[in-house]
């Protein structure tokens, strides 16, 4: 029987856990140290389990990008200095700008893990008017599809007008911020 820690393969395992990844139920044995680290970063670890498969699925799509990611050299956040390589190791980003700096690779990770790339939940009160409008737009678009499906064309036309109005205001916002 193997008495060593599954993680570091060095220390003797004293903590035994049932690990669930996807639909697979498996047993893992860890040393105190590794177990503690797992506990700390449970959420990060859950995400990290996804990373290799997501990154390998990038292969052939954008070869340069994959190479960058694999060498971890070129992808570094200009604001905080965190590299994509760091993220791959820790599962943690360094700052809000990392989301933008790593957006190509991160987008796939997020889609894979979250099965979505669009926030539809709470919006902070002070967030820009734009966020509120975008959310409203999203609701209206769903509403529009529904009305069309129900063959309520008059109602659909009214919704479409509302959508246009919001789009105009959003475009104005963009121009405004471009000027700054």
């Amino acid at each position: 029987m193997n008495i060593f820690c599954d993680e570091c393969k060095k220390n003797i395992a004293t903590v035994f856990l049932t690990k669930i990844s996807g639909t697979e139920v498996s047993k893992v044995q860890l040393c105190e140290e590794c177990a503690k680290r797992m506990e700390e970063t449970t959420e990060a670890v859950n995400l990290l389990a996804f990373l290799p498969q997501v990154l390998s699925s990038l292969q052939g799509v954008e070869e340069n990008l994959v190479e960058d990611i694999l060498t971890g050299e070129l992808l570094t956040c200009g604001s905080c200095g965190t590299s994509f390589n760091d993220f791959q190791k820790m599962g943690l980003l360094g700052c809000a700008d990392c989301y933008r700096e790593f957006s190509d690779a991160l987008h796939r990770v997020i889609i894979e893990f979250q099965e979505s790339d669009e926030h539809i939940g709470k919006i902070p009160g002070r967030a820009s008017e734009g966020a509120r409008l975008r959310r409203r737009l999203l609701d209206l678009e769903k509403h529009l599809q529904q009305k069309i499906a129900e063959e309520e064309y008059e109602a659909a036309a009214a919704v479409r007008d509302q959508i246009r109005e919001i789009e105009v205001r959003l475009n104005a916002d963009v121009m405004e911020s471009d000027k700054e």
């Binding site: 903590v15 035994f16 856990l17 049932t18 690990k19 669930i20 996807g22 639909t23 139920v25 047993k27 177990a35 503690k36 506990e39 700390e40 970063t41 449970t42 959420e43 990060a44 859950n46 995400l47 604001s79 905080c80 200095g81 965190t82 820790m90 599962g91 943690l92 980003l93 360094g94 700052c95 809000a96 989301y99 991160l106 990770v109 997020i110 893990f113 979250q114 099965e115 979505s116 790339d117 669009e118 926030h119 539809i120 939940g121 709470k122 919006i123 902070p124 009160g125 002070r126 967030a127 820009s128 734009g130 966020a131 975008r134």
Partner: protein, 349 residues
Amino acid sequence: MTRNNRAASVADWLGTEGPGYPLVLSSRARLARNLEGVHFPCSAGEEDLERARGMVLEAVSKRVADDRDWDIRFAEELSRDELGMMTEEHLTSRSFADRMGGRAVALSWKDGRSVTVNEEDHVRIQVIMPGAQFMEAWREADKIDSCMEEEVQYSFDQELGYLTSCPSNVGTGLRVSAMLHLPALVSTGEIARTISALGQAGVYVRGLYGEGSGVVGNMFQISNRQTLGRTEEFIVRSMDTVVNQVADNERTARKMMLRESELGLADGVYRSLGIVERARKMGFFEALELISQVKLGIEMDLIPMDDFSILEVGVEVGETHLRERLGNDAEKEDVERERAVHLRRMLAL
């Protein structure tokens, strides 16, 4: 308020019964937030951490902590024991006990509300309630969040929502979890099927404590996996549905055990009771297993004993809580002896 004032009793919510008792032990809602313009804690320098702490704690004291007794603690000022006790009481996560600079927690002991500063994210708002009260717990956390937001500007992206240091929390930053006691699902082996169904429903399952051939004490924590692309209400309501389903499965498994072998079941729980009554020393994980079995016996009217709170007793037999009773120079063996004695005391045996 010093730690000693409340040493006699653990966090109040632990001993309380809620909806779904005795299968659903507790509900937890947690919101992850970060401050705009400050690096996430893992890459922030000491100065940034201090600044973030100042901003968050000011928001807490101004907007949140005015109603009931909130307690603010800096991690570096707490002793190892105090940190350990807080971890055992599920008030803070284990990583909080690392005492890294700039960490702090503001908590309201009475009702299980807390705001942790500079763990994985600048702000972690947490509300724990007894039983299945996911909507209530989330509303309470949301209220704290909205109050804090009047003082601080959170890092928020129009497409991705609240930005968190781990992308697994991005969007709503909301993680809802339930703690469940599922001894019959484990002993009938049905748990594997339940877990795989939950996995497909986008729900995480993990043991609250781990050991031996699986999860220890038959206590499971389940939480939502996705935090993005769903509204908070949807996440909360889904968790409620899932938890009810799991609790139903456990009830069915209990009936099945009773039908198939009442004698076998009774034998099992009484053997556990026998060990609790006679043991001279006991390990933590062993204690959790025994507590689970005795509790099952009580709930199924097989053992005529007063009911007890499995979470509260579980916390009481934890390493740090026992050490506090014994004093700091206690040896491992002293702790194990005290665990056996204290468990009998807790169960009035």
